[in-house]
Amino acid sequence: MAMVKATLVEAINAALRQEMERDKRVIVIGEDVGKDGGVFRVTDGLYARFGEERVIDTPLAESGIVGTAIGLAVSGLRPVAEVQFDGFVYPAFDQLISHAARIRNRSRGRFHCPLVLRMPYGGGIKALEHHSEAMEALFVHLPGCKVVIPSNPYDAKGLMVSAIREEDPVLFLEPKKLYRAFKQEIPEEPYAVPLGEARLVREGTDVTVVSYGNMARVSNDAAELAQEQGISAEVIDLRTVSPLDKKAVVDSVKKTGRAVIVHEAPRSCGVGAELAATIARRAILSLKAPMERITGCDIITPYPRLEDYYLPNPKRVLNAIKKTMSDF
């Protein structure tokens, strides 16, 4: 299989292009996705390649984008819609929750909504207010959508291919911080990474670190630091937070007996809470120490000057790892 080096942006772009070539029902809509190629250039070149009937700039209206995308999907197309930044998904919340997520159930399977909603996700790029949010828990809590958050180009491409081929709505959250952070060898051809399966980033025996998105990288960096200190950390990258691969997490914690959960979203009722509750239910007898949650605080994502304080970093995760090493 031919391999190419690609950034996360390029990987997603390739997935979009190849799926659009494979399946002419796939179309791209959103603000500035056309000639401009999206504000992060994720849809770059698609307008030139597929024309204005398949790569469509919409008016500036997120509820309109998602609401019409539902109609587009039901009419037989497979829209890949973009919300320009994570912080602007809220106007579309009602259409997502009340309709996209419910049409299959409401019609007992008669209608369904194969919609991919992409959006740049998370912090770390020192952006303006509302441009650094992490709101995945909302869509884990209210059911009916799947939620993907890749941490590297390989997964990103394969997950995007799967997302487009899904028969149900998928929120595809793209960590901004990773868009161009590094390149990775990925297959040139299309390939699918299944939704709902965590990836074992690194095997370890002492403690399990569970994370996703940019925080999966932060966690891995922390694991490396821990290694230097003689602690063997197993790192799990969830890749999709809905469905959650609880089995992978529970099995790992049963093995290591310790757990650190890392995400950048606010703490209360976050994905970390669900994971901790799940571990406490299913692996409590294996636990050798209290679990640690390293997350965003329950505050408004700060502006650039304070952002570094807010976002979890490898040192913070390392300290949590070390904390779990002092057993009960």
Partner: protein, 361 residues
């Protein structure tokens, strides 16, 4: 260089038949005798259905229900004007058009009886599920029309909403997308003068609701919504445009909600009786009956037969509705995704255990 006129817009008001059933021949749309009779049959059926649902609710045999009585002429002629491949995206008061588009009546009752299977729309019925959150369905209609256009299919969509529905942001976004992408969409606003207890004039300062179309660069027409002929003419005009690739139209149908908002509401708290009396004199079925009789289309025997047939149809549907077996708890899980996730499988098993335990005790 001084003040110039940058834009001028206007909205027409259409009516064909007065309250006594007299029509304006110049405005009268082309309709066969059989078509007119069909309209009466369906309007009577819709009215009988509505009465029955109200009673079922009162008897505890059905859940909360939103009556359509008085608004039949906003819907039946539109169904008649639609092409077979066209779709309806309803709100929640569109029983007449939903039934006329072929939705099985007994199944439709399941929905109002609180059973999701009621909205498992049959494959050959081009109706989207009832939308409860006000204003949200129009975007689906626009998206569907847009998608059909992109796929080169000759499909128009018709979406319904009330005077209240025009205030939601989604109405605005739907109208705007329809204008920009010139989707073949007919927006039908049933202006029944009230949004629960809020009167039309408190809903917006605009003189007409039809003029809201001007904000999106397309046509809006105000129509006598209790006049089957005017509604038919306007719907036909709009749908012909849609099928000819000439984009969307907004119709404001002037009508009245004769009943309470729903069976949970008591309109006496906020509505003057004179107003109801005024509109009762303009009942859309009575007007069509007068027209039919005056024009020798039918006699009282025909009217009675319409009524008898309707009663029989509705009674049969109610029987089927009540004979329908209860849904299974598993159904709550099975349609969340194409395939059940591991979590849902576990939760379904958990629920089954709970239910077993509950039954045991």
């Amino acid at each position: 260089m001084p003040k110039k006129v940058a834009y001028e817009g206007r909205v027409e008001s259409w009516s064909v038949m007065d309250k006594d059933g007299k029509t304006d021949e110049k405005m009268m749309p082309k309709l066969s005798k059989e078509q007119v009779k069909e309209m009466l049959r369906w309007m009577v059926l819709a009215r009988v259905f509505d009465d029955k649902c109200f009673k079922l609710q009162r008897q505890g045999r059905m859940g909360t229900y939103a009556q359509s009585t008085g608004q039949e002429a906003c819907q039946i002629p539109v169904a008649l004007a639609m092409q077979e491949q066209d779709w309806v995206f309803p709100c929640f008061r569109e029983h007449p058009i939903i039934l006329m588009r072929g939705f099985p009546m007994a199944q439709y009752l399941w929905y109002w009886g609180g059973d999701e299977r009621g909205m498992k729309v049959p494959e050959d019925v081009n109706v989207f599920p009832v939308a409860v959150p006000v204003g949200t369905q129009m975007l689906h209609a626009v998206g569907y029309a847009w998608g059909s256009k992109l796929q080169g299919k000759d499909v128009a969509t018709v979406t319904y909403f009330g005077d209240g529905g025009t205030s939601e942001g989604d109405f605005h976004e739907a109208m705007n997308f329809a204008g920009v992408f010139q989707t073949p969409t007919l927006f039908v606003c049933q202006n029944n003068q009230w949004a629960i207890s809020v009167p039309r004039k408190k809903q917006t300062r605009a003189e007409t609701l039809a003029q809201k179309a001007l904000a999106y660069g397309f046509e809006g027409i105000q129509v006598d919504g209790n006049d089957v002929f005017a509604v038919y003419a306007a719907a036909k005009h709009a749908l012909d445009k849609a099928h000819a690739g000439k984009g969307p139209t907004l119709l404001e149908l002037m009508t009245y909600r004769m009943g309470d908002h729903t069976t949970s509401d008591d309109a006496k708290k906020y509505r003057p009786p004179e107003e109801i009396a005024y509109w009762r004199e303009r009942d859309p079925i009575d007007r069509l009956k007068k027209y039919g009789k005056a024009n020798g289309l039918w006699d009282e025997g025909f009217e009675q037969k319409c009524l008898d047939d309707a009663v029989a149809t509705v009674e049969k549907a109610v029987e089927a509705y009540e004979a329908f077996p209860k849904p299974e708890p598993e159904d709550m899980f099975k349609y969340m995704y194409k395939e059940m996730t591991m979590d849902l499988t576990e939760q379904m098993a958990m629920l089954k255990r709970w239910l077993d335990e509950e039954r045991q005790e």
